[in-house]
């Protein structure tokens, strides 16, 4: 069971020496209680404290890092079953699978796609995360050659999918220093796989058909000295994954089964319904998802879902309120008012950029609410607009006094005119029509 901050504090040396990076032992204890710090940061713990704290203060699900450098990512360190109880922290990495029997130019193509492709939503570039190379040929030499082909194109995180220690060893000789994820240790090959994982300091997947088998494997691997583990549940159906992934998450976060406190991997490319498997994996606790290269439609839907599920709904992504410029607007350029919800901002900005008409965006602080939501909640008011005009010195920036407001804010137009003295032009409801609107209404 998790300890409270005060219980932890009693076990600390209480020197307040700051060496852990925290100002006091108490603040360090609070971090430990939240699973946000590691006990090894305090050099003065006695053995007893170490053994008591070690088991209960490390995050219930271990943080595991894949790859190195710019594209690397970490998974695990999750604390809840339901997102609304806190939030989900580490979005799953989605890795495209290539069999080593694929012609090299195709392997290069998939790798370059993962390296280059991104899809911008709400100001974030959404990307796939790496390549899973599968030893379909059964040959160590061909496997290593495929790894070499991928390595030549990009330094992406890799998953090495093989059951054969010889193939794994040949691949690790090429990429072992870049922290590839090894997939997968089973009871048959565990000893060799653990030795290789340890030698190259790589994270290791353990694969088992039952939860008991997985727990046994993680115990064996940790006693062999490999700590960075990931669980492949090897599900037979979506239902099977649903049940086992939920069970493991629940047992892990309640610390009822520390041997299961590791991130989960789902190979959607082996499932009968890969798109459904990806949706299930994103929502139900997968941390690494292997998938065949996705069609453009599936790719966008999957990346958007991942962004949604890993956005904290209690904190909408917000923009700083202020005056933003599109192009190089002059004193006579139009001013468009909107809210500081980032989805709204980026949607409007996108359409404004494509009109190629320089203009100003006046972003007012609705605490991250969209236009319609802010109007409904009474968060968008004439006072807010008036204060924003003053605060961001809009009257010094433009020579006219015309403010374009969103169509959904039309109920406020009279009151804004009265309070600010500006003339209000009610724009369209749908930002997609803004170009047409500006060309017709502004030029007049």
């Amino acid at each position: 069971m998790a300890l409270k901050a005060l219980d932890i504090y009693k076990l600390l040396p209480r020197k307040n020496c700051k060496e852990c990076g925290d100002p006091t032992c108490l603040t360090f204890a609070m971090k430990l209680a939240g699973g946000k710090a590691d006990i090894s940061l305090c050099p003065y713990l006695d053995e007893e404290a170490k053994s008591v704290l070690g088991a209960t203060t490390r995050p219930p699900i271990r943080l595991v890092k894949l790859g190195i450098g710019e594209h690397s990512f970490a998974v695990g360190e999750e604390f809840v079953l339901y997102r609304h109880e806190k939030t989900f922290y580490h979005p799953p990495g989605i890795m495209f699978r290539v069999p080593d029997t694929m012609p090299p130019y195709e392997i290069s193509g998939v790798t370059a796609r993962v390296r280059d492709e991104f899809f911008t939503r709400v100001g974030a570039d959404l990307r796939f995360n790496g390549i899973a190379i599968e030893n379909a040929s059964g040959s160590a030499e061909i496997f290593a050659r495929a790894v070499g082909t991928v390595e030549k194109i990009a330094d992406l995180p890799l998953v090495l999918v093989t059951a054969d220690p010889a193939a794994l060893s040949a691949a690790l000789a090429l990429c072992g220093t870049y922290r590839p994820l090894i997939h997968a240790a089973t009871p048959e090959n565990r000893t060799e796989f653990c030795a290789l994982a340890k030698q190259h300091d790589c994270p290791l997947v353990v694969k088992g058909k039952t939860i008991d088998e997985l727990a046994q494997l993680t115990r064996d691997c940790t006693s062999d000295g490999v700590q960075d583990l990931i669980l492949d549940l090897f599900p037979a159906s979506l239902r099977d994954f649903m049940i086992r992934s939920t069970t493991i998450r629940q047992l892990a976060i309640t610390r009822a089964a520390p041997d299961l406190g590791y991130p989960v991997l789902l190979d959607a490319s082996l499932m009968e319904l890969p798109d459904a498997a990806i949706t299930l994996g994103i929502t139900k606790y997968a941390s690494v998802i292997i998938s065949a290269p996705l069609s453009p439609a599936s790719a966008k839907a999957a990346l958007t879902l991942r962004q949604n599920i890993y956005t904290d709904p209690q904190k909408p992504i917000q923009m700083n309120p202020g005056l933003y410029r599109i192009g190089n607007p002059g004193k006579d350029a139009p001013v468009l008012m909107t809210v500081n919800f980032s989805l709204t901002f980026f949607t409007l900005q996108g359409y404004l950029e494509s009109t190629r008409l320089p203009c100003f965006m006046l972003i007012v602080d609705t605490e991250g609410l969209s236009v319609l939501t802010a109007v409904a909640a009474g968060k968008l008011s004439e006072t807010l607009v008036n204060d924003s005009i003053k605060k961001f010195a809009l009257e010094d920036e433009v020579s006219h006094r015309i403010l374009i407001i969103p169509g959904y804010a039309s109920p406020l137009s009279g009151r804004i005119e009265d309070l600010t003295g500006w003339k209000v032009l009610v724009g369209p409801r749908d930002a997609a029509e803004i170009g047409e609107f500006l060309h017709e209404e502004w030029k007049k």
């Binding site: 609304h84 939503r121 727990a215 239902r239 459904a276 929502t283 069609s295 839907a301 999957a302 958007t304």
Partner: protein, 318 residues
């Protein structure tokens, strides 16, 4: 060692009957009883536990409908009876949801036509119906009463009651023994409040379906997903005022930027993926009626639910 899931829930979701067969006093080929769950979605251990119902949304004035759908379905969209028939026989839906978009015309007053349309749809399909009434408070009362009357005995689901606007729909539902969709904007407490209001005027628990409002993928789904989970969670913890089945209809899916601005060659694909991903994730969060507009989404959801449910593929046939 025996690792098992045990949440210790105390509540369960109320059962709601949708549609009525001949022996139940209606004319439907099939009827469903949804609800009854005692744990999280798709974790039920019982063989044959029901899978979410897939509903095709259609309308009686396609001028208000997405061109993606009207192009795909072709001429049938001008005949609600034919469209409903195809929903059952060609597209394989479990239910049909008819939006009376004809009532959205300015100064609409032809109330009798509402009855005729519903009769046409009832004879076009043997599936249970959801009827989405007017959008205009002034004509609500007449429209809903007409809907109720035209579907008497059929155990329809009437939509949509909201906090400021639930009396006339509730009255029609109670008069003719239909159920009601109770919609609130993405908030558990508001959902609960509305259910209590409905209860106070006499709508019983087993005649309510919660619509927590589905923001579509990328446009509010992050909120809707949690709202659905929280409703289910509260229900299982024992809050009877939230223990009703949930309906999901992401009506904006076909108009979001990613769909609308996609290349024509993949327009249908992306529309379908958007509906599919939203619908499946909503079912995982707790929705039991999933509404879609693109017919191609139906078989995808059907297969996914099949792989998530033990034993049976179709909905919980009564």
């Amino acid at each position: 060692m025996g690792f098992d899931l045990n949440f210790g829930w105390s509540g369960s979701i109320a059962c709601v009957q949708l549609g009525a067969t001949k022996s139940e006093g209606g004319t439907r080929r099939i009827s469903y009883r949804i609800g009854g769950e005692k744990t999280l979605p798709f974790l039920e251990k019982i063989q044959g536990s029901s899978s979410p119902l897939i509903t095709l949304e259609i309308c009686d004035n396609p001028q208000y409908w997405s061109p993606i759908v009207t192009n795909y379905c072709g001429d049938m969209v001008h005949n609600s009876g034919e469209w409903a028939h195809a929903a059952e026989t060609v597209y394989g839906a479990d239910m049909v949801r008819l939006y009376l978009t004809s009532t959205r015309k300015r100064d609409f007053s032809d109330i009798a036509s509402v009855g005729t349309t519903i009769e046409t749809v009832l004879s076009g399909t043997g599936l249970p119906l959801i009827i989405e009434g007017s959008n205009e408070p002034k004509i609500d009362s007449e429209v809903f009463l007409k809907c109720g009357e035209a579907g008497q005995g059929e155990r329809m689901l009437l939509g949509t009651a909201e906090a400021g606007r639930y009396r006339s729909i509730a009255a029609a539902a109670m008069a003719y023994d239909h159920s009601v969709i109770a919609q609130s904007p993405i908030d558990v407490n508001l959902a609960k409040q509305l259910n209590i209001l409905l209860k106070e005027i006499g709508v019983s628990r087993d005649h309510i379906i919660i619509d927590p409002y589905t923001g579509s993928l990328g446009y509010g789904f992050e909120y809707s997903y949690s709202a659905m989970e929280r409703i289910r969670f509260s229900a299982l913890k024992g809050d009877a005022d939230l223990a009703m089945p949930i309906i999901c209809s992401a009506i904006d899916s076909l108009t979001v930027k990613e769909v609308r601005e996609s290349e024509p060659a993949i327009l249908d694909d992306i529309a379908v993926q958007w509906e599919f991903t939203t619908g499946l994730a909503a079912a995982i969060a707790g929705a039991e009626i999933i509404c879609v507009r693109h017919p191609r989404t139906i078989p995808l959801l059907r297969k996914a639910f099949g792989s998530l449910t033990p034993g049976k593929i179709a909905g919980g046939e009564g």
